[in-house]
Amino acid sequence: MLEIRRVSVFYPGGDRTDAVEALRNIDLDIGEGEFVVALGASGCGKSTLMNLIAGFLAPSFGQLRLDGAPIAGPGRDRAVVFQKHALMPWLNVIDNLAFGLKLQGVGRAERYTVARRFLGLLGLEDFETSPVYMLSGGMQQRVGIGRALTADPRILLMDEPLGALDALTRERAQELILRIWQSQNKSVFLITHSVEEALFMGTKLIVMSPRPGRITHRFDLPFSRRFLAGESAREVKASPEFIAMRETVLGIIFADEEQAA
């Protein structure tokens, strides 16, 4: 579905800084229904990669194609979810959810019908008309995810969507995102710097490393499928395979760090 071929990105240097090679020679495929997680220390080009897919940024070299067509700018088929600051505080919960439909010119009654389907899925039934600035961080983030879903994109792009949440809320949100992924049958590209989150959620993991930003390791992951098949999140995360995998990935990241230092 999405193909990234030999993509490099250089940010021009400023007065006192050299040009930054934010990404070098990235090759990546995201297939239908795949859940790809990008993991890496900050500065390794994760957000740059997402901005390329979203169409906010054009690559310096290389190509990105969605269903064979080059990506030229943002579009409804690729919805983004950010860590924060992205909801519209002048709209209540349901109007935030229906925002994309409003932009498409869908009438109010129909917008609300669609948005209400997601209220339930997100556990926000009782907050339909609440102002979003009154909600907790976890609920705000669910509204952000819901807003992306209502637009019915092919792929969800999430840049550290859970980074601002406390540990408990974060685990709940991880489970929710997996359930949504399963029920809505979307592709997902998720950025995180939590190893555990990456392993638990993805079907495919790319580990990235900075200066220049590149993909150093790729893994296929079974854990989200195990969770969706009925195992509890705690069971999955405490299983020997999960722990072994976590140590492997942590080892890679620490080795990177030491090399950089």
């Binding site: 169409g55 943002p74 409804r76 924060k84 519209m88 505080p89 002048w90 409003k102 600035y133």
Partner: protein, 295 residues
């Protein structure tokens, strides 16, 4: 000081533990539950303000009654109130007081409305578009700090001594803060909000209307409050030439006849109207941007 009993302290929960006088200025006393320690300038001010105003009024009355200042320089508050009642009854220079108020308010609000209609779109355009910013920035920044009194003669030469030059003078005073406020308001939108809108399929026009304009609203409202204040500031200058009505005219002409109490009535009326309008604007703000500063 020692506490008499348990019940005694419970009866006066407001008493902070005693700290040496000097120390309390070096470090804030621990707060009671529900407050935040160390917030700069924390505390209610309404009572203090009311008290301060009352004290000034009393001092004013005492000083003038004691004959320390000649009424020509400073009439007493009671005399000012008497003057107000007299003008209310008989009008001033042939026109009733309400007409003076109406004429001045009309000038200020006409200029204000014009400044909103032109300044808000202009400011948004300058915020959104470098060409617009490049075009208008030098002129706006040049005239902005010039006192309106300085270009009043030009207004009169160009637009005559009628209503046009008066409203235009006030309009120019209001335009700069409103335009700059709208322009700065564009900056208060988060880039994530814009990106989210685009990836939901928004057009540029939709991003402007549905995101930027909405996000800029708090800042625009603040600039409107500041702008209308500038308008009142300019009123007296606008009514300096060829006026027979208006509060600014009243203040100026009364001063020529050394009617100090009438001058004070005019000043207090201008201040009161401006203040009431500001209260209304703040109420409006709470209604239409309750989310201001909260996300």
């Amino acid at each position: 000081m020692s506490f008499e009993s348990e019940t005694d302290t419970a009866a006066s929960p407001g008493n902070a533990p005693q700290t040496p006088f000097l120390k309390r200025f070096l470090r804030a006393a621990p707060t009671r539950p529900g407050q935040t320690y160390g917030v700069p300038g924390e505390g209610r001010t309404v009572g203090i303000s009311v008290a301060a105003v009352l004290i000034v009024l009393i001092l004013w009355q005492v000083v003038t009654m004691a004959g320390l200042v000649a009424p020509l320089f400073l009439p007493s508050p009671v005399q000012v109130v008497e003057k107000f009642i007299a003008i209310l009854g008989n009008g001033y220079t042939g026109a009733p007081l309400w007409l003076h108020v109406l004429v001045s308010a009309g000038r200020v609000f006409a200029a204000f409305a014009l400044a909103c209609v032109i300044g808000i779109p202009l400011g948004l355009a300058m915020g959104m578009n470098p060409v617009m910013r490049g075009l208008f920035d030098p002129f706006l920044e040049f005239y902005r700090p010039i006192p309106p009194l300085a270009y009043l003669p030009l207004m009169i030469i160009w637009f005559g001594i009628g209503e046009t030059s008066k409203v235009l003078l006030i309009f120019l005073a209001v335009l700069a803060p409103v335009t700059l406020g709208a322009r700065a308001g564009v900056r208060s939108v988060a880039i994530e909000q814009i990106h989210a809108a685009y990836s939901l399929g928004a057009t540029r026009g939709q991003v402007l209307r549905e995101v930027v304009l909405r996000a800029a609203t708090p800042e625009i409202l603040t600039s409107l409050r500041i702008g209308v204040g500038f308008g009142w500031t300019t009123l007296v200058a606008a009514e300096m030439v060829a006026s027979t009505q208006g509060l600014g005219y009243m203040v100026l002409s009364a001063s020529q006849f050394l009617q100090t109490s009438t001058v004070l009535v005019g000043i207090i009326l201008i201040g009161a109207i401006a203040w009431i309008f500001d209260l209304a604007m703040r109420a409006l703000e709470r209604r239409i941007v309750p989310w201001k500063g909260r996300m």
